[in-house]
Structures are given as structure tokens and as C-alpha cells.
């Protein structure tokens, strides 16, 4: 087993663990606001780590750059959508509170 393959496996285990923990947190944490905390670590830590692991295993070249671009896209896209979902959650909660206050 080459050092490069070992490094790729370490990165893969770290990324997979982060993603699994995020999924577990999404299922276990109570309330909509706490659940939002599970979204960003998966997008900014888990997915880029797995993409980096794949790029390290592939070796220098065009394929590795493509994998890193995918990791970057997942990180940026995940962050933007987390903010959008958070905003929608805040609006939804505010709407529900107003409706209950009118009753």
C-alpha cells in the first residue's frame, strides 16, 4: 500500500464519517433550527474531504482537477442552499407564530 493510497483512505474515512454524522444529526436533533446545523458540515467538510481523497488516489492530472472542482461546487452549493433553507425556515416559523397570535 503506497503512502498516497493510505492518505486517500484516511481522507475517505474522515469525509465519510463527517457525512454519516451529519445525517445522524439531521435525524436526531430536535427542532428545525438545530437540524440546520447538520447541513453545513456535510457540504463544507464531508463532501470536499471525499473529493480530495478521490483526487489524491487518482493522482495529478485532469481527472483530479475535475474531482476537486466537483468538491468545490458541492461546498459552495451546499453553503448557499443552507442559507436559503435557513431563511425559509425563519419565515415559516414567523408565519406560524403570527397565525397562532391572531387566533
Amino acid at each position: 500500500m503506497t503512502p498516497r493510497h493510505t492518505l486517500a483512505l484516511v481522507l475517505l474515512v474522515a469525509g465519510t464519517t463527517a457525512l454519516l454524522l451529519a445525517a445522524l444529526a439531521l435525524a436526531v436533533l430536535p427542532g428545525p433550527y438545530l437540524r440546520l446545523h447538520a447541513l453545513s458540515p456535510a457540504a463544507t467538510l464531508g463532501a470536499p474531504l471525499v473529493a480530495l481523497a478521490l483526487a489524491v488516489d487518482t493522482g495529478p492530472g485532469r481527472a483530479a482537477v475535475k474531482l476537486l472542482v466537483i468538491g468545490l461546487l458541492l461546498a459552495v452549493g451546499g453553503t448557499v442552499t443552507t442559507m436559503a433553507v435557513a431563511r425559509a425556515t425563519v419565515r415559516g416559523q414567523r408565519e406560524t407564530a403570527q397565525r397562532e397570535a391572531q387566533r
Binding site: 454519516l20 439531521l26 437540524r35 447538520a38 442552499t81 415559516g92
Partner: protein, 85 residues
């Protein structure tokens, strides 16, 4: 089975499963959170499957999902905001 396929199997069951479960119940905003995480995890699973089967051209699927899934989520949030105005 190599490490990539094992990780893909783990993520497909332990990662996507809870997201789908959350996507089936609760308020629309909470379902959207489940959908968001499911999209990220599925992209990673596709990447891992491509590497596990040594078909690097299959990474295009993950690339497509990484581009289109955030756009879909943003459209959903827009619909939810529009309904609440």
C-alpha cells in the same frame, strides 16, 4: 469490494436513509433540509461509485447533480417564500 464501494454502500444506507426519512415528514422547510443533505450525499455516493468501478467518466453524473441540486433547492425555497407572502 474495495474501500470506495464500501464507503458508497455506507453512505447510501446510513447517509441518504435518514435524509429520506426526514423528507417524508414534518414541515416543508424541514423536508427541504432533508432534501438538501440527500443531494450532497448522493453526489458523493456517485463519485465513490465511479471510482469504485474504475469508470471515471461516470463522475459527470456527480458533476451534474452538484450543479443542478442547489438550483433545485433554491427554486423550492423561492416557492415556499412566495406562498408565505
Amino acid at each position: 469490494m474495495n474501500a470506495w464501494l464500501l464507503a458508497a454502500a455506507l453512505l447510501a444506507t446510513g447517509g441518504v436513509g435518514p435524509c429520506l426519512l426526514l423528507g417524508l415528514r414534518g414541515s416543508p422547510q424541514q423536508r427541504l433540509a432533508g432534501l438538501n443533505l440527500a443531494a450532497t450525499t448522493t453526489s458523493v455516493v456517485l463519485l465513490l461509485l465511479a471510482q469504485g468501478f474504475s469508470r471515471t467518466s461516470y463522475t459527470d453524473l456527480a458533476l451534474d447533480l452538484a450543479v443542478l441540486a442547489p438550483a433545485g433547492t433554491l427554486v423550492f425555497t423561492r416557492f415556499l417564500a412566495g406562498r408565505q407572502r
